[in-house]
Amino acid sequence: MAKNVKVYSTPTCPWCVRAKQFLKDNNIAFEDYDVSSDRLKADEMVKKSGQMAVPVLDIEGQIIVGFDREKIKQALGV
């Protein structure tokens, strides 16, 4: 079963770009929210993570702040 993956990011953040590239390389489909233009999603991200930093990944409800490759791998089971 494909996991439900959401990425909250800004277009200019290098770790966001790398996190998304990592998901693509592993053939993981994800929803991508640009929090620089989407206020509602930005608020949602801050509420979920308790932080004001990007990227935030929501993998089946597990929240990962920053591009933490090992945590992401674990959460995805890849």
Partner: protein, 299 residues
């Protein structure tokens, strides 16, 4: 054993890798990230050939160039120790151990921290070390930039377009940095500069809501939700043992990028080369690689 291990993949490391690939050296790039400080830069207008390019776009170009050769890049590996043992140089990382006949240290610099109360508690909760990344989260909010050099100006130029109001807290009598950038910053309508000022504390509840500053001898509170730290950089040179460094911790190199240890070369912002610029780091990376190539051929 590799001919060469390049530590770091910023402008210096990536340029060294391009030269190493073209010299057909047997080499490896070990790095925490790709692009280094360039990846966090906003607008770049002084890299020859590009009248304008953003930091992330320039890094994309660099990486594309590096990967156009069959280069082995170990990304996300932190180097713990570099030590010369006999004829070989040992590179210990968070994941593995490698040996090479030569090494280029191009590990760059990282942001200096404020060292004031509240910094640890509010990191990522209003305090950011990357305006390029986190800036857009502060749209229509008040923010403060701590610092007054080029990176502070760069952050200011990004944030005046996003934030409601921007304060600059600078501890010298006037802003430093490039004159052109300074002019643009000083002309901004939604910005106020506090010179001769230092930050005393970051305050808040769940998130940052104010900072306390010392402005020319008087304490003052600024109501801000974001604090961007741009007070300079420290070299990532702790892991290299036995290499001579200056008082700032920068690795001493000669004009051929040699350190005091044979076979260990260094390039870019981690070294004591005067002026820290992307184009200088790139040039130093190419020099270091040519020196390493010559060294490996002779030893």
């Amino acid at each position: 054993m590799y001919d060469l291990i390049i530590i770091g993949a910023g402008p210096a490391g990536i340029t060294a890798s391009v030269y190493a690939a073209r010299k057909k050296m047997d080499f490896l790039v070990v790095t925490g990230d790709i692009g280094g400080q360039t990846a966090w830069s906003g607008d770049i207008e002084n890299y020859t050939g590009y009248q304008f390019i953003t930091g992330p776009d320039l890094v994309h170009k660099f990486e594309e160039h590096m990967r156009s050769y069959d280069t082995s890049v170990k990304e996300g590996e932190e180097v713990m120790e570099v030590v010369k043992a006999g004829g070989a140089i040992l590179v210990k990382t968070s994941k593995a151990e490698y040996q090479a006949r030569s090494v280029i240290i191009a590990s760059g610099k990282r942001s200096k921290e404020l060292g004031v109360p509240g910094e640890k508690e509010y990191k990522n909760k209003g305090i950011s070390y990357c305006a390029t990344c986190d800036g857009p989260l502060f749209s229509a909010k008040n923010v403060a930039i701590i610092g007054g050099g080029n990176s502070a100006l760069d952050a200011a130029l990004q944030l005046i377009k996003i934030a409601k109001y921007v304060y600059i807290v600078n501890n010298t009598p006037e802003l430093g940095g490039e004159a052109l950038m300074r002019q643009k910053v000083e002309g901004a309508q939604n910005l106020e500069i506090f010179n001769n000022s230092s930050i005393l504390a970051v305050l808040g509840e769940k998130m940052v809501n104010a900072i306390k500053i010392n402005h020319a001898g008087n304490e003052k509170m600024l109501s801000v939700e974001g604090v961007f730290v741009e007070i300079g950089l420290i070299p990532n040179s702790d892991f290299v043992k036995g290499v001579e460094k200056n008082a700032r911790g920068e690795i001493k190199v000669n004009s051929r990028n040699e350190t005091n240890i044979q076979g260990i070369f260094a390039a870019g912002d981690v070294t004591d080369v005067p002026e820290k610029q992307i184009i200088i780091a790139a040039g130093e990376g190419s020099k270091a690689c040519l020196s390493a190539f010559r060294y490996v051929a002779q030893h």
